[in-house]
């Protein structure tokens, strides 16, 4: 079953998010060797602080077996801020009807404990793909750009869900290469994946049903200190006052841009403003950019 967790319902599902961050640490840190930051066995990055939506797959006991994270391409997202290398220096696609999906993974360890492992992994993968495509589609989204590794790319192809194209080029990220693939959210694609997996039922479970399932477990509601802190940080009501660029800095920047005599000067002046603005608004994200 699939649940979507975003800023509106995450307070109810801290335990699921905690499990998801642990799964991400095992997959992206241990297995793929990406340069991700892992604290106390949880992988959480700056984009998790931007209120993304998570599409999460659960097994019958309510344990996380798969997950993926979605962000709008109109705002800060991974391809615009940290995965630029994949785009060969080109600006990223930006569109109201294009979402970016990242951190797509399946818990092969948990699924392989029982006999029929390959089938279980394939089913979990397909269910997550159906869930994320349907969630995007009903949100008015037409396409998804997704950062994946060659293994996931092969899995997509094998599941009759092959990307219709790629943007930029494949680059080494840690132990394995990564690439940016395009998927449409059409009925046709969703039907193909459903047919391949033999999944005809509604994959989504209601918030109440999932909460009830989790509460019936003995370890219900356990959340690590780090994730609790993350949740508390995220639960603070949106500041009505956004961090504003001070007027003198604004005037200075405008003067720099207006007095630029060459394209290079102008570009440099713009870059300066961009850094200033980003540093004020997304201090941590900016740090990531600086690290490359």
């Amino acid at each position: 079953m699939i649940i979507v967790i975003d800023a509106l319902n995450k307070d109810r599902f801290g335990d699921l998010l905690d499990e998801m961050f642990q799964l991400r640490a095992r997959v992206f840190g241990d297995r793929l060797g990406w340069e991700v930051e892992i604290v106390d066995g949880r992988e959480i990055d700056q984009f998790d602080r931007l209120d993304p939506a998570y599409v999460i797959g659960l097994d019958d006991e309510g344990h996380v077996i798969s997950c993926v994270r979605a962000l709008q391409t109109t705002g800060p997202h991974m391809l615009s801020d940290v995965f630029q290398v994949l785009l060969d220096g080109e600006p990223p696609l930006r569109s109201a009807t294009l979402w970016e999906s990242t951190r797509f993974c399946v818990d092969t360890q948990r699924l392989c404990r029982d006999g029929e492992s390959m089938k279980a992994v394939s089913m979990a993968t397909c269910e997550l793909m159906i869930g994320s495509l349907e969630y995007a589609r009903r949100s008015g989204i037409s396409d998804i750009i997704t950062v994946i590794d060659p293994v996931v790319n092969r899995v997509l192809k094998r599941s009759d869900n092959a990307p219709y194209d790629y943007v930029g080029s494949t680059k080494q990220m840690g132990k394995v290469p990564a690439m940016a693939a395009l998927l449409d959210c059409t009925e046709e694609r969703i039907s193909r994946v459903r047919a391949f997996a033999g999944i005809q039922h509604d994959v989504f479970a209601s918030d109440d049903a999932v909460r009830a399932l989790l509460d019936s477990r003995e370890d219900a509601g356990s959340v690590s200190a780090d994730v609790a802190e993350w949740l508390a940080l995220m639960s603070q009501p949106q500041e009505p006052e956004v961090p504003v660029l001070p007027e003198d800095i604004r005037d200075y920047c405008r003067a720099q841009i207006e007095s630029a005599e060459t394209d290079a000067d102008r570009a440099a002046a713009l870059r300066l403003v961009e850094i200033l603005v980003r540093e004020r608004i997304y201090p941590a994200t900016h740090q990531l950019v600086a690290q490359g």
Partner: protein, 235 residues
């Protein structure tokens, strides 16, 4: 597509033109009312445009409902459009809409949150007084177009000061420029796919991105603007 909506990307822009745009949007998508609210951290400004009747606007302002209204405060944190039915149990919902009926205002609506590149956030809200099943049908049908319209309004509003305009100078990729160049040469999307050896869908997704980066609602507007900015050559 969207040819009957005024193109906000061309100047000059005034408050009236935004409200006119909201009126046209309601006509086109069979909606009762529409509202846009957005904050720009670069200019330090807050923008709001609505086509609600004046008595409701006064009631809303006098009671400070913008400080509790979850269709603004809560919905802005989603990445997906938020149907107001999802907010019914949220603090502030009942209070915001308690007197709405007396003003002929419905609580059947949805909010499309927009995130911009510089910490700017915008929200386009629309309403329609109709049955739940009609609303479901209508909202599903119009959502893809409404998403594009929401970003169009937001981007345009965010460009109202000189510094923001400079920062938001369209950054088109080589592929986006190449596709617009072939469109300017009169080629169809199918032709362009064949010429460049890419799928029709790839052409479409790049064209859409290029069009939106140029603050245009239609492809001809985008081509015109790209020529004006010297991003492609006139033919």
């Amino acid at each position: 597509m969207n040819a009957d909506l005024i193109d906000l990307g061309s100047e000059p822009r005034h408050a009236e033109s935004f409200v006119t745009f909201l009126d046209q949007l309601c006509d086109r998508f069979e909606l009762d009312h529409a509202a846009y609210a957005g904050t720009n951290p670069i200019s330090g400004s807050v923008h709001g445009y609505v086509n609600y009747p004046d008595p409701w606007k006064q009631h809303y302002t006098q009671n400070g409902l913008h400080r509790i209204d979850p269709t603004l405060l809560v919905a802005s944190r989603s990445i997906a459009p938020v149907d107001w039915s999802r907010l019914e149990k949220t603090e502030g919902f009942a209070k915001t809409f308690r007197d709405a009926k007396d003003f002929g205002i419905t609580d059947r609506g949805l909010t499309i949150p927009v995130r911009g590149p510089y910490g700017d956030i915008g929200m386009l809200s629309v309403t329609r007084d109709c049955s739940a099943s009609d609303w479901k049908k209508l909202s599903e049908h119009i959502l893809p177009d409404l998403q594009s319209v929401a970003v169009h309004v937001h981007d345009t509003v965010m460009r109202s000061d000189a510094l923001s305009r400079a920062l938001r100078y369209p950054a088109l990729s080589t592929r986006e420029r190449e596709i617009l160049q072939w469109i300017a040469a009169g080629k169809s999307q199918q032709d362009i796919g064949d010429i460049l050896g890419i799928s029709h869908r790839t052409v479409e997704v790049h064209l859409r991105s290029g069009r939106e980066k140029l603050y245009a609602l239609t492809t001809p507007q985008a081509v015109g603007r790209a020529i004006m900015l010297g991003l492609i050559y006139p033919l």
